[in-house]
Subunit: 462 residues, 2 copies
Amino acid sequence: MSTQSTPAYLPAPAGEMGLLTDLYELTMAQSYFAEGMDGEATFSLYIREYPPDRGYLVAAGVDDALDCLAALSFNAESVAYLRDTGIFTEDFLEYLGDFRFTGCVRAMPEGSLFFTDEPVLEVTGPIIAAQLAETIVINQIQYQTLLATKSARCVQAAEGRPIADFAARRTHGGEAALRMSRVSYIAGFGATSNVLAARRYGIPPTGTMAHSYITSFDDEAEAFRAYSRMFPDRSILLLDTYDTVNAAHKATVIAREMEAEGKRLTGVRLDSGDFDALSRQVRRILDDAGLDYVRIVASGGLDEYALERLVQDGAPIDMFGVGTRVGVSADAPSCDMVYKMVGYNGRPVMKLSAGKASLPGAKQVFRRHDGEGAMAGDIIGLDGEEVAGCEPLLDTVMIDGDHTRPLESISDARQRVVQGLASLPEEYKSLRSPARYPVSISAGLARLDRQIRNEIATLRSQ
Amino acid sequence: MSTQSTPAYLPAPAGEMGLLTDLYELTMAQSYFAEGMDGEATFSLYIREYPPDRGYLVAAGVDDALDCLAALSFNAESVAYLRDTGIFTEDFLEYLGDFRFTGCVRAMPEGSLFFTDEPVLEVTGPIIAAQLAETIVINQIQYQTLLATKSARCVQAAEGRPIADFAARRTHGGEAALRMSRVSYIAGFGATSNVLAARRYGIPPTGTMAHSYITSFDDEAEAFRAYSRMFPDRSILLLDTYDTVNAAHKATVIAREMEAEGKRLTGVRLDSGDFDALSRQVRRILDDAGLDYVRIVASGGLDEYALERLVQDGAPIDMFGVGTRVGVSADAPSCDMVYKMVGYNGRPVMKLSAGKASLPGAKQVFRRHDGEGAMAGDIIGLDGEEVAGCEPLLDTVMIDGDHTRPLESISDARQRVVQGLASLPEEYKSLRSPARYPVSISAGLARLDRQIRNEIATLRSQ
């Protein structure tokens, strides 16, 4: 039973989703198939190390990953292509032709705060299905989590000033542009410039004008006048095409003309130069003209660090547009998110690679809050364990490949980020060198970890 | 006439491509429409500053951008959504319902080397069409150019050793994963792990096994044995699940067993630890067992800097897999690529913003080669100028919204990168602090630049 109401927006046509994977997923599956290995496997998706200066992560892309899994199949052309590679056996190709993802998935909901080593998602199912989920699950959740996290840091830094997503031209493709709009809104942005994203996700669209608009007129003031004539209720005039201060004076003239028509200029936008100095100059020019209601928007190369500085220095900027640096998570465009097998055929398993060891067994993450409702530490335990007074974060979202609940609404996910950040103590939210949020391991998991390490050591010494 | 043979792979459904844009493109278009501004505009797409340590850029994504432009339209649902925003007039919405991109495009072909300030693409057309092209053109060409450039740098560093694209799980979405496979192959990679990309673009697919494969067996040697039994002609055994050196010894046992069956182990893969030291240890173990034909593959966190060090230090690695850092262009995930209006209604225009000034007029890029065929400097001139002894790089690729030639074949684009890099002198290819390739401005363009600056200064002083 699928309870999904709107069609999924997949990164590849449904019948080709099976091929949107690394070849080794398919060669491993072929080997499992040939060996008759059809036991149940569990894989954990988690981040091993924080990206620089991150003290928390915002889970995002989970629902997109689930949509991809629900669509994971191989149409006739896909099977024909695989046949042509000469790598696979005919009975396995037939199996792939009928393949549907039949795993069960437990996951944190979209917008959850999570920390290193904590599984944000676990897949349990026949080993071939669970293995074939790997590439697309990481592909969807890793970058969306990074973009959501970077966006949440901007929201923190802006201290209540609205932020709009202007990233569409800088994201890595159109799919990423849509996702950036969605996850930045979940993280607390107020609007997006991306019209398709606004429509698909129900986000307020926003936009002003580009330099090209100004240069297409013989005269800057004429451009301002034409725009405000067209959009008397939503004009934000771009000031930096030729000279910001000069243009601010022209904007006051336009605003006065609008007042004579009973209209009000919404704002002006700074897009280059020293935002702190320019915003103060422009504010003064506007105020001196009695235009204290005209808002100042700044955009261009902004990120959480720039926002923090401008806000703390008291630059009179009312609204920010962010794009380039946030839409690619510039200082952490990728991270060490992995999808590791933690159990097979009733047997917990782990990997011991230098610096990359994994914890064995299907897990649950338990969150403890103190008396004031502040997050006080997480415990990674085994699935099925109970930890008194703690909230379990992973919930069953898919059984046998079917969604068990409707996808999250974007407003629910957004609310979850707000609540999460409100209950996360300050020291873990610092934009630079945050303290490490306490994540411990349950007694049950610690015991299992020791046991499996011993078993592997014994095997290796044989 | 469209000469395109295979269906385009668009970042949004065709009828929704018009909405995959920034709102301001549409509000500006509405104003142009209302003002009766239908003059011809020219926009230049170029990069203002080199990303860190880059001395050249590899043009990529041009053909995808053209496909997006050919599909740029607004279906009934898109128009209905725009109507609901309350921003647009009914006559403009009707115009959008019938809108097709009718501009002409001149561009450098996929795989061309280019440098700062040089237009890689120019759009000339009715101002609304040319303006509406902006967001998607930058969105497609910017990141693909960055990924192609990063990949080309890896190819340089590998000095002939084959490289495979393993980036599918780290790119920003599925669309970016497909493009990464394509542009890295154009840049000189030999294969991709991404099966859908391999099929769509005709790239050799490649893959080995994951740690999960090893851990799904009770015993590492059993896993190796099962895999090589299944794929006797293409087995590359992953060594670092528990202990690399220990696993190398097991691999020699497997290889001997394969020899007894008349088969040869293809290779082994290192995926963590000190690649230089481990590759030497593993090479010795293999050679001591008479397995000098078994190749060593290294993967995990590699980029051009790591490849350069390993190759220069003589680490005995035969093949590299790169993913994480290259698939997001980690040290330069975005750049300052802009799409600027340079002419409107027969009048050259420019922008003077601090540090962001643009050059006026429709342009051509002329490349000069010395007597030995080495690239000796580019000249940015005006479209229509001729510069003796130089090759013009921009070619007409679209007229009135129709492709004028088939899209580039991936092998032609790949060959273009090989030739370009072969003719680019060493100093501009250094992976760190390269010299600045000489790009000058033609006398005609310099004259026009001075003239427009003077006109703007005169206007501003009025």
